[in-house]
Symmetry: C2
Subunit: 454 residues, 2 copies
Amino acid sequence: MKDVKAYIEANKDRFLNELFELIRIPSISAESEHKPDMVRCAEKWKEFLLAAGCDKADVMPSDGNPVVYGEKIINPAKPTVLVYGHYDVMPVAPLELWRTQPFEPVIKDGRIWARGADDDKGQSFMQAKAFEFMVKTNQLPCNVKFMLEGEEEIGSPSLYGFCEKHKKMLKSDVILVCDTSMIAPDVPSITSGLRGLCYWEVEVTGANHDLHSGIYGGAVANPINILCKMIAGLHDERGHITIPGFYDDVLVISRAERALMAQAPFDEEAYKKDLDIRAVHGERGYTTKERTGIRPCLDVCGIWGGYTGEGSKTVLPSKAYAKISTRLVANQDYNKISKLFQRYFERVAPKCVRVKVTPCHGGAAYVSPLEMKAYKAAEKAMETTYGKRPIPTRSGGSIPIVAGFERILGTKSILMGFGLGSDDIHAPNENYPLQQFFKGIETLPYFYEYFAQN
Amino acid sequence: MKDVKAYIEANKDRFLNELFELIRIPSISAESEHKPDMVRCAEKWKEFLLAAGCDKADVMPSDGNPVVYGEKIINPAKPTVLVYGHYDVMPVAPLELWRTQPFEPVIKDGRIWARGADDDKGQSFMQAKAFEFMVKTNQLPCNVKFMLEGEEEIGSPSLYGFCEKHKKMLKSDVILVCDTSMIAPDVPSITSGLRGLCYWEVEVTGANHDLHSGIYGGAVANPINILCKMIAGLHDERGHITIPGFYDDVLVISRAERALMAQAPFDEEAYKKDLDIRAVHGERGYTTKERTGIRPCLDVCGIWGGYTGEGSKTVLPSKAYAKISTRLVANQDYNKISKLFQRYFERVAPKCVRVKVTPCHGGAAYVSPLEMKAYKAAEKAMETTYGKRPIPTRSGGSIPIVAGFERILGTKSILMGFGLGSDDIHAPNENYPLQQFFKGIETLPYFYEYFAQN
């Protein structure tokens, strides 16, 4: 790949300005008021794909937000890489914790600060610019297809159907995904596993309307107290999840493999200091990296009920709510887990309340074998630009559709992400270091080169 | 008291129109944006007191919202009744559950629907109109003082100091309070006891910022999960509160007195049906009326943390909050309870989180002896207008300042309320039956008559 660094240097301001155009569109998939922004963002992507060198690009309908598809077929006999990314972003609340406006990107301290700067506008835009470089310098070694969806952050509900419907169009030899992180700027790594996900909203109802907490307090069930008790009961004293059958299918990792994983650099003191916590907290018998890498977990992502305004209001509320998610590992089936949770949560509810469990979304865990050709090409590409061999790591995060691709399209994915743990994706003050952005654009063409060889 | 019914009949529309003027002022003491409304409401009360027949009335400063004071001294040798009420109201959230606008009173189905219709604008306005009747018909048998505060719903933080400062001005033989309920429209009762109150806001902090629930989930404490566990631990399996020392000072009620209390009419099936609950829920070994009347309780009045918007967001939040209140009984000291809770809650917090407990307000329980002259006068007044003897009941609610009056002014209060359990005070769709409003105006003058005798 000749002159990739020079090409980046010559075009870096344009790259950033184009990325900022994407970031400025508040494409929050979880909030229905942003429906028009989803379409605007998809149209903008189509424009950029054509400009980067696609022969054709379209904004295609799905059952939900549109999917952007583009392709450049140089020779049907050559291998094909399908690039997957997503143009939707997470909600931005709590807004008051942002130091800059989430949808007005700012460059400061060598980072781009904005919602989507990393996840996944920044990372998927690296893919577009790496492709542009190869096209414009006549070095594209294989066919390329692009698929960008607008519902990843809500669990890709429509993309499964889209893939079923367009199997032929999406046929490829590997799916290249830049939506994960590496260990550190100078410690390249490739994500060899992802956790799955299962998410529910629960509603606990006591009396049919809010009551005076003095007149009724002590005699009528308080749905917040009950919900807290039910949530508390989901873990035992050892940090195990108590849902019967929850661990039945968990892939047990051998002592040997755990020993290998333990070699990845990890400084727990620095980790605690960075998060300003006095102690880590999790399942007994596992290290921090194991707790996020090879073990499932259960977290309340949100809770609300009663009076939450200023000052004090004495009320015995009628309802309490929580959003609860589990991260799953191979070989847990999220449909099975979803039913296990629902059944258990409804069963443990005392008679004095009514409980409603609404499954939101879910996805399976994914494992990328280190022996596959695409993994080796990614490894070699990173070795070329970083000067050291990347470490395989298991991410605690989830990209549920990646397991879906394997099931529906029969194609494995390679997770070659350039994010960092400090990027605060999904949180206030999301950011993406410029160094990672440009290093990604520099590295990706080598993946194509090595993957297309032999 | 001659012609009281005729006076009410002749003036009823005016009474309601005047009350509606008070209700339309959104005097929510818990929300600082309503500060100007507090002053407007106090000024309106001053106007009404003068019109009703006070010789003088003033809006007086306190450390917080102003206090309205008015008086009519007919003869210093005669007894003096100090009327206490409050012009502030509870917040109105959740607004979407109101069937009418909370600050635009509507008369429907024989009830006034509005925030404050009962608590305490409706009930304290009965006092003003009963007084007006006695003045205008030359039947006022004793001296009357009025004190209306604007902070009852937030625990009367400034009224204690106001009473200390104005002991002489507030000197009286009894304090007459209309801020409680009776058993049913045809079952008159007098509140012979009130529960005390203690209220805290708690904050649990995990990491210093919101985290990605996949990348960190399972390894870093989730403050919502931890808060739920801490709240769950505040009750044991028997419904007992677990805070060490919490029950130490609770006045134990004799079997004989419990048997007497059990004679008050109470239909548990109707109670459950009314609230649409399958089971009551509370401390083992006590009846529903005992649970709210003679036993303390602990309720979470509000909880919030993480993502509470539409759809699903996978986040491991940095903070979780709850508003927690206890109702206290004689002889629990709320200052002692406040410290016990704070110490306990901070002590049981695991090392992986930080906990902050902020005491909000509190007040002692109150017991009104059935033998006192004012109780007998109230009993006789209700017997006169209802044709049956009122039952003494203990309310589960709290008016903390009532215990404060006894301590600071050395004066007992009589709690002669005309509210009903169905008035939904503190909740959406607060209402006050017209029948109760007018019956209150009719009954109160007899209290004055009997109290002023001998």
